[in-house]
Symmetry: C2
Subunit: 142 residues, 2 copies
């Protein structure tokens, strides 16, 4: 019955962390998608980015502005979006993590379509420690 009540600050850390993750989740998805578009089509146009992200074009433009502000991307007006070195590195990490999360879900018996949907949100909250555990688990069962 009478558990020791948790120290409020400790509990708050969990939510603070989740909020911080949330703040970068959008950037992560955008750099990954910009990388995809460049790989698939040779360039990342604002319109394509917006279509793939499921937002209106000005929303994508605003996101790109934030990517530029954070040093993750550059853009030449009417020409397309490009990743900086930092952006490309982030994209690579994000893509790898995304893949691992999808594979883990599938390995746990989640239907592929559902795995793809859930992973898009889950991935951002997966710490390096958890990611390592996921990879070890996947390796251990070939």
């Amino acid at each position: 019955m009478t558990d020791t009540p948790p120290r409020p600050e400790d509990q708050a850390d969990r939510f603070t962390r989740a909020r911080e993750v949330q703040a970068v989740a959008l950037l992560e998805d955008y750099v990954e998608m910009i990388g995809d578009l460049i790989a698939e089509m040779g360039e990342a146009r604002v319109a394509d980015l917006a279509a793939r992200m499921g937002v209106a074009q000005p929303t994508a433009t605003k996101a790109i502005a934030r990517l530029k502000r954070e040093g993750l991307a550059t853009a030449r007006p009417y020409r397309g979006v490009f990743l900086t070195e930092a952006g490309a590195a982030l994209a690579e990490r994000v893509r790898a993590r995304h893949r691992v999360v999808v594979e883990l879900l599938i390995a746990l018996g989640v239907p592929e379509k559902v795995a793809e949907l859930d992973a898009e949100g889950i991935e951002h909250h997966v710490s390096d420690a958890s990611l390592a555990a996921f990879e070890a688990f996947l390796r251990a069962r070939g």
Copy 2:
């Protein structure tokens, strides 16, 4: 090399879903916490709620206003916050899902502290289908 490019709308669904989940994540954490406080202390005061969520008191007040608007909670000024039936039901579901996610992470070899941190964000993106798969996996390995 030349994969068939994904249909943009299909890909967009993933992000749309993640955005929808995000919109309710905060409500889920609040109702769960309100339930915790009532269970532990007999009542949920705004100040305690704010401390546990790691936000300033007016931020908690504003969140409570949204809970009321959505029919999940009621509040008597200067008296505390209460869950409606819908709120209590949501809290119960959220609590159960939270527990399963933490247990899964631990079962996969994630350190307990890390599991608690990561789960707080991951849980909201875990669909019913994934949750069922997680439970099956946990059951299968006792």
